[in-house]
């Protein structure tokens, strides 16, 4: 049994110079066989393992990660969490996640610093207004908190936004979801890892999948850099690398992996206490608990696994930032980085069985996967455990690309990211 984290445990350990803390998770050797293996030790993968163990009582499972857990998009995103999506299916999925976020720190006994400081989406042209209002109405009827703000209300809610009518694309209003916000991305991976480990899940880092063994239409296990591991169920949660894993069983997915960049400024005293996103003037910004402005840039248009993007994207993003926040002109970019995001044609994810028995895919989260982490893990765990999707992820099957029943979140009013 792990020692519980609390103010008291902190005090107790203080007197021993913090030399008696336990490992947050073990570093086990892979077993010969597991009841299920999750490929990918990001937030989604670790959450999947955690819920498989916790809710479906599967304890003999492993998470295999080619690098270090949380080292992919989990540790590279701008940590925005919201559920104000347009279509019922998406709203259901993301709000399911948001509800779990609201109790996650307590459930994991790990403070993921989920901060419900609100997310505001700005409208800059008449079609933006129509689209965002449409989305707000849909959210309201779906029981998701979302309100429309006129320009003055936008200014009131976030005074540093440039709401002058004289800018190139004036702010015509916006939507606000108060329950939305941010969380500490690393803590999410570490919290789930610690929780899963405690339930007996083996977290195996530096273990890259090299091949998938199948017998006819049945999965038999995975070849890894640490040997062959047997399992009848494989759940792939490899984000940008999903297509690479899929190619091991000659599956092609409706995905393109593209560079997504983000950056932070030097830390400054609190200046913006919410998350502001803009689609037309493409920029979104929040401020971390450390004081850094966290700024999300866009994706490049070409496929790349290099974890680098083009400078024009960063320049374009900061251009937009200075249009909306001229006071940031003398702030400095401290660090810039790139991730690899797997994007579906309809900008919605895939949480689905495949036509191979025992092989499941959770991918296509594009630029917005972090917010869904708990929900994605929970629903994927359900799909794997029951070999059947949960009603909340039924719409996100691979088959929708054949039938044409897409969940088109960018054709509609979805905000990029």
């Amino acid at each position: 049994m792990k020692n519980k984290y609390s103010i008291f445990s902190l005090f107790k350990n203080a007197f021993s110079g913090h030399e008696n803390w336990q490992r947050a998770w073990r570093d086990p050797e892979p077993k010969k066989e597991y009841d299920a293996i999750i490929v990918g030790g990001g937030g989604h993968g670790l959450a999947t393992a955690y819920y498989l163990a916790k809710k479906h009582n599967m304890r003999n499972i492993a998470v295999v990660e080619k690098g270090w857990i949380g080292g992919g998009n989990t540790g590279r995103n701008t940590t925005i969490i919201r559920s104000n999506y347009l279509w019922d299916a998406s709203a259901g999925l993301y709000d399911h996640a948001l509800k779990i976020w609201e109790g996650l720190s307590q459930d994991l006994n790990y403070n993921v610093m989920f901060s419900q400081r609100g997310v505001m989406n700005l409208a800059h042209n008449l079609q933006d207004v129509r689209d965002l209002k449409r989305r707000t109405h849909a959210n309201r009827l779906n029981g998701i908190d979302a309100v429309w703000l006129n320009t003055d209300e936008v200014k009131k809610f976030c005074p540093i936004v440039n709401t002058s009518p004289n800018i190139r694309y004036p702010v015509l209003g916006g939507t606000l979801q108060r329950r939305a916000g941010t969380a500490r991305h690393d803590a999410v991976a570490w919290g789930y890892a610690r929780g899963a480990d405690e339930l007996g899940v083996d977290i195996i880092q530096n273990c890259e999948v090299k091949g998938i063994k199948r017998n006819g239409n049945k999965i038999e296990g995975i070849e890894t850099t640490r040997g062959f591991i047997k399992s009848k169920k494989i759940g792939v949660v490899a984000a940008g690398h999903s297509s690479v894993i899929a190619s091991m069983v000659d599956i092609r997915l409706p995905l393109e992996s593209k560079p997504l960049q983000a950056l932070v400024s030097e830390p400054v005293k609190p200046i913006i206490d919410t998350v502001v996103m803009s689609n037309a003037v493409h920029a979104y910004v929040s401020q971390s608990d450390k004081g850094e402005l966290v700024i999300g840039a866009g994706t490049d248009s070409y496929v790349s696994y290099s974890q680098k993007g083009s400078h024009d994207v960063v320049e374009g993003t900061l251009k937009a930032i200075l249009e909306l926040y001229p006071i940031f002109s003398r702030m400095k970019m401290l660090r810039q980085w790139g991730g690899i995001v797997d994007i579906c044609p309809d900008a919605s994810p895939i949480i689905s069985k495949t036509n191979i028995e025992g092989l499941y895919f959770n991918c296509g989260w594009g630029t917005g996967g972090f917010k869904a982490t708990p929900g994605s893990g929970d629903l994927f765990a359900h799909t794997i455990a029951n070999d059947e999707p949960h009603k909340l992820n039924a719409a996100f099957s691979l088959n929708r690309f054949v039938s044409g029943d897409l969940v088109d979140e960018h054709g509609a009013a979805a905000v990029a990211h």
Partner: protein, 91 residues
Amino acid sequence: MFLINCPYCGERDQSEFSSGGEAHIERPKQPTELSDDEWADFLFMRKNIKGVQFERWNHSHGCRKWFNLIRDTSNDKIHGIYKMGEKPPKV
């Protein structure tokens, strides 16, 4: 920013070009003969290769010509360029 050697205009900055995704996915000549799965395959399914990929680029802010480019998507190194309709060079 890549430096791309347009087969018509020569070496130019990436910002003059736009990417057209995976190359050699020919539009079916007789779409109506295809099953829904085959059509979905053409429409949506991609190799999305990590490694050497054949892709389409357009010199959209230059001569507006489309051409093919061979790029290693794991490090963005360009290994070759050839015109539409030409056989890809060996890499």
